[in-house]
Structures are given as C-alpha cells and as structure tokens.
C-alpha cells in the first residue's frame, strides 16, 4: 500500500498550510494634510518676507527653479515611473512650450503668462504624435527613439525661430526688485498643478492601468487594459506641465535658444530626480528635485562650476540604481519608515 506523505508531515505532525501575513502599511495620518498645507502656505508667503531675506532675488530664483524641476520630474514620472516607459528625450516638451510662448511674445507681444497653457497644449500635441510612433516599440528601443526625437528637434536651422542664436525676449515691465516674484508664483502654480495631476493619475483607474503595464504589459493587455491608448495618453499627459514650465522659463531668462531647452542634460536631470526620489511614487520626484538641486548648489559652492558636478550626478544615478532602485521614497516605504506626510500614494 503506497503511503500518502501529505497526511503525515516529515516530523510526524499534520502539515499546516502556510498563510503569509500581509503587512499593511500604516494608514495615512490626518496630520499629513496639515503638514502639506503648512508647506504650501509657507511657499506662498515666502516672497512677502522680503525684509528678512538677503539676496532676495537669488532666493526667489532658486525657489522658482526648484519648483520648475518639481513640476517637470513629476510630469515625467507619469510616463517613466507609473507606466515604466523611460523617456530620455523629455526636454523636447520644455522646448516646444518655450518656443511657442516665446514666439508669440516676440512676434505678437502676448505675455507668456497667458500663453503658457498653449505651450503646454502644443507639447501635448507633440506628445500624442511622438507617442503614436515611438510607442510601437518597447523597452530599450523606445528609450532610444525618444533620444532620437530630441536630437531631431534640436535643429537650429529655422530663421523664423532665430536659428542657433535664438530670439531675445522683451523682459517683463516690472522694477528690478520685484522682477522675480511673478515667475516664482507662476512656477509655484505649475508645480502644484503638476503634482496634483500626478496624484490624480496615481489614484485613478488610468493610473492602475499604467502600473499594470509597467509590471507586465502582456498580462495587462490580456486582462483588458487598453495598453496602446493608455501609453500614448500617458506620454501626452506627461508633456503638458513640462511645456508650460518651458514657456515660463524662457520668459524668465528673457531669451529662447535651442541649446537652452533641447539638451539631453535637461532630460537627464528630470530622470535623475525622479529616480533618486523614487519613480512610481507621487512624492518621489518632489523629494528628488529638492535633493538634487540642493546637492547641485552645494557642489557648486565646494567645487565651483566644473564638470565634477556632472560626475557626481552620474555617480549618484549609478549608486541609486544599484543599491536603492526604489529611490528615497520607495525605499523608505518598503522599510515602513516613510513619514506619513510623504506618503501620497
């Protein structure tokens, strides 16, 4: 008679089925909203503290730049983090926005503060078109095609757009002391808009579909997710705030030129910030933008404006990829040590 070994475990006892204990992350504490509200209010009020802040314009410019990067890396994250499609050519959208608003200002005198959304929409249009073609590939081939896209549009051949020298833009008609304030507030709005968009996407059915695509595209397709539509939409959506930011940025530096926008360095920064912060999370790109910018400024002070800054960035990217692939936010979350005010997922 053949014995049934399952009835009796190896040590003679009846075998027990194992149930894995699923660890539930701590629920979002109510206080996190208070912390966030406090941060936003502080940011809104910052320009009012003029008497207290020395080098006022510098602080506001720095603030505006950090906010811009928060917006851009959060937007990139919609395609790169949520959907898992790494775009290394995203700076084209900044350029499109910058040029649309810049050209409208230069030739027709319309303020970029009004036309920035148009810049964003132009970027979205490009996103749809580019996505339609490049998203026929997956993985590495896709990444390569985004690089090609960037280099294709990196042309300095068009006289109407000022060629290689670009177009100088008339500066804002405001006295020097308050010059940076409107840009600061504009970027703050843009950053808030971008982060809010990312948040809404993450908490939507669309976002869930994107995550499924990132996890395993074939399975997602089989499960009924309209992958092609979602991917192209993510591409287009991720372009909007980048375009808007580009429009404002061009105005803030008072000229538009191909090398300002269409460089791979800008794409690289977006990617770096999102990854180091934690791609795939909503708070990650925000944390990443602040962190990278802080490190940048620090190394500028320590090393001066040399190439070592780039080496540091590259080393950080490599180190994070090898040792902390989930980024700051992602790793903290895995260790269950994420402060609740950063848990926006």
């Amino acid at each position: 008679m053949i014995e049934d070994r399952a009835a009796v475990g190896p040590d003679g006892s009846a075998p027990e089925p194992e149930i894995e204990d699923i660890q539930r992350p701590p629920g979002p504490a109510r206080y996190r909203w208070y912390v966030l509200a406090a941060v936003v209010i502080a940011l809104l009020a910052l320009p009012l503290f003029r008497p207290v802040i020395s080098s006022y314009n510098y602080v506001l410019t720095l603030g505006a730049l950090i906010l811009m990067w928060v917006a851009m890396s959060s937007s990139w994250n919609i395609l790169g983090g949520f959907a898992g499609y790494i775009s290394l050519g995203h700076s084209v959208f900044m350029g499109v926005g910058g040029y649309v608003a810049g050209v409208l200002l230069y030739y027709y005198g319309v303020s970029p503060f009004l036309t920035a959304p148009l810049g964003g929409l132009a970027a979205v249009a490009l996103g749809f078109l580019a996505g339609f073609i490049t998203l026929r590939t997956r993985g590495p081939a896709f990444i390569i095609s985004t690089i090609a896209l960037l280099f294709m549009l990196m042309t300095d051949n068009f006289e109407y757009l000022g060629g290689a020298a670009g177009l100088p833009l008339p500066p804002l008609e405001v006295s020097q002391e308050w010059l940076r304030v409107p840009f600061y507030y504009a970027m703050l709005l843009i950053a808030m808009g971008a982060v809010w968009t990312a948040y809404r996407v993450a908490h939507s059915k669309f976002g869930m579909g994107l995550r499924a695509i990132a996890e395993d595209e074939v399975k997602a397709e089989v499960a009924g997710v309209p992958t092609r539509l979602y991917k192209i939409s993510a591409f287009a959506m991720s372009a909007f705030w980048v375009g808007v930011a580009g429009a404002i940025y061009g105005y803030s530096i008072a000229f538009i030129r191909p090398t300002v926008f269409f460089t791979i360095a800008i794409s690289a920064q977006m990617v770096l910030m999102a990854i180091i912060g934690g791609k795939g999370t909503v708070a990650g790109p925000v944390v990443g933008a602040v962190l990278i910018y802080a490190i940048n400024e620090l190394s500028l002070v320590v090393f001066g404006a040399t190439e070592l800054n780039i080496v540091i960035q590259g080393t950080m990217l490599v180190a994070v990829l090898l040792f902390f692939p989930l980024g700051v936010v992602g790793t903290l979350r895995k260790m269950n040590r994420l402060p609740a005010f950063l848990n926006w997922d």
Partner: protein
C-alpha cells in the same frame, strides 16, 4: 555623374566607420541585452587616448589601435564585473541597463571634461588632410575623384576588424559560446557555457571595438566630451534600424545610411546629415518596428 560617385564613395567610407561603432553596441545587446548608452562616451575616451598618444608620443592613430583595444577590453570587463553582474538576474534588466549606462556616460563625460576641458580636439597625422586622386578609368574627360586618405584607411581598418570579429565568432570556441549565449542564454547554460564569463568577455569585446572606433575618430572628427550624445543618438538609431542584436543589420544599416546622409549633406546642407538617421529611424518604426533584421519578439 562624377559627383554622384564622389558623394557615394564618401558615404560608404563614412558608413564603414559607423559600422565599426555600431558593431560594438550591437554585440553588447545581442549577447547580454545591454543597451549601452555609454558606448559613444567610451569611444570619445579612447579618442583622447589616441590623441594624446599622437601629440605626446608621436604614435600614429591607426597604430594606436594596437594598444587602445586591449586597454579598453580590460576596462570593459572590469565595468561588467563591477556594475552589471549585480543586476544580472533582475526583472527590469533592459530598463536598468539603459539607466545605468546613462549614468556611466554622464560620469565619463564629466571626468573627461574635468581632465581635458571642453576644447575641440583632433589629431592631425599627415594623411588626415590628403586624398587619393583617381582620374581616367571610366570617368568623363577631365573629372577626378577624391578619396580622402584618412577616411579610406579608417574604413580599411574597420573592415579588417569586422572581418576579424566575424571570423572569431564563427570559428573559435569562445565565438561559439558567444553566439550560443546570444541565441539562447538558457540553452547555453545547460550545455555548459559559463554565461557569466562569456558576458564579461563580450562586454570587453564591445568596449574594445569602441576603443578602435575612438582611435579612428581621433583624427577623423573633432571631438570634445559633450559630443558623445550626438554620436550615441546616431548609433542607437542605427542599431534599432538594423534590428536590435543583428550584427548584419547594423553593418548594412550603417553603410546604407552613410551613403544616404552623404547625399543629404551634399544636396541640402551639412547640419541635416544626422537628421537622415533620425528620420530613417522614425520611418522604420512606423513600417517595421523590429528593424530590418530584427525579430518579432519585444526586447
């Protein structure tokens, strides 16, 4: 008519050099599924080696290939062991190699810039500015063809190296192991191939080819650290066009696009040369996303 032949010849010579550059990139992808965004940065680093060897030690760039290749081979093996071994089995390997090599490219660019500044460099051995002059033969009366010596020697070197690579892959034991690993990694393991060792060697070979390309580049084109991005974009477009992982596709793509871009430059203008590659890429993506000789399966 003569002009057409002239342009075509220039294109072929250019394509020959591109083929060598793309071959290294393709090898890394074919064997290890690594998309090496740092390949052009490696090429430029090698160009610096050859450049300074020429400036300081008077070593001809073509000759420098002899020592640049082994140096870069060892470098490649080291990079593989230190960086890629860690992520070998991971789920998102393809994506990770892109990001990782992206970071490496930035690091190399920064280090080169820090060490050598951003000045345009270009070695100038005698033949860099001379041309063979071909007249008579089948050409119309009075017309002559110029064949730039520098490009000609470079293409010759490229052919020698590519043929050598082909023979190595086809006939040597390691070559068999490399081809087996490319075709079916799991099967290679089962049959007893040490795929880790093969991967490290292949990556070393890939960077060695980058080294040779760099030696050629040192006198063919002006270079500076930041330029690697332009090169990598063109090379990557080439590799995708030919079909990722297909050596044949990369070489053919390089030659065809070399000629095509040569005509574009001749007819429209020099800045449109690289555009040819990007446009061709987007065209292929529309018609045949897996490239000319690629396989249907997603990367």
């Amino acid at each position: 008519m003569t002009n057409v032949i002239q342009v075509a010849i220039l294109g072929l010579l250019l394509g020959g050099v591109y083929a060598l550059m793309a071959a290294g990139l393709t090898l890394a992808f074919g064997v290890m599924r690594i998309v090496n965004l740092a390949h052009a940065a490696f090429i430029i680093a090698s160009a610096y080696i050859s450049f300074f060897a020429f400036e300081r030690l008077n070593i001809d760039p073509l000759l420098s290939v002899v020592f640049v290749m082994p140096i870069m081979f060892l470098f490649g093996v080291a990079v593989y062991q230190v960086l890629f071994r860690r992520i070998e089995g991971s789920k998102k390997f393809g994506e990770m190699t892109v990001l990782l090599t992206f970071g490496i490219a930035i690091m190399v660019e920064g280090l080169l810039g820090f060490a050598f500044t951003g000045i345009y460099r270009k070695a100038a051995p005698g033949y860099a500015n001379e041309s063979f002059i071909v007249d008579g033969l089948f050409l119309p009366q009075g017309d002559i063809l110029f064949i730039p010596k520098g490009q000609f020697y470079a293409s010759l070197m490229s052919i020698v190296l590519l043929v050598g690579l082909w023979a190595f892959l086809r006939y040597s034991t390691t070559g068999y192991a490399i081809r087996a690993t490319t075709q079916n990694r799991a099967a290679a393991q089962i049959v007893g191939v040490n795929v880790r060792r093969v991967s490290a060697i292949s990556f070393g070979l890939s960077t060695a080819l980058a080294g040779a390309s760099g030696a050629l580049m040192s006198y063919l084109f002006p270079f500076f650290p930041f330029r690697h991005w332009q090169w990598v974009a063109v090379l990557l477009a080439l590799v995708v066009l030919g079909g990722m992982g297909s050596m044949k596709g990369a070489v053919i793509g390089a030659l065809v696009l070399g000629v095509a871009s040569s005509f574009v430059v001749d007819q429209i203008g020099p800045t449109w040369g690289p555009m040819t590659f990007y446009l061709a890429l987007f065209l292929i993506l529309l018609i045949r996303p897996q490239g000319l000789f690629g396989k249907e399966a997603p990367a």
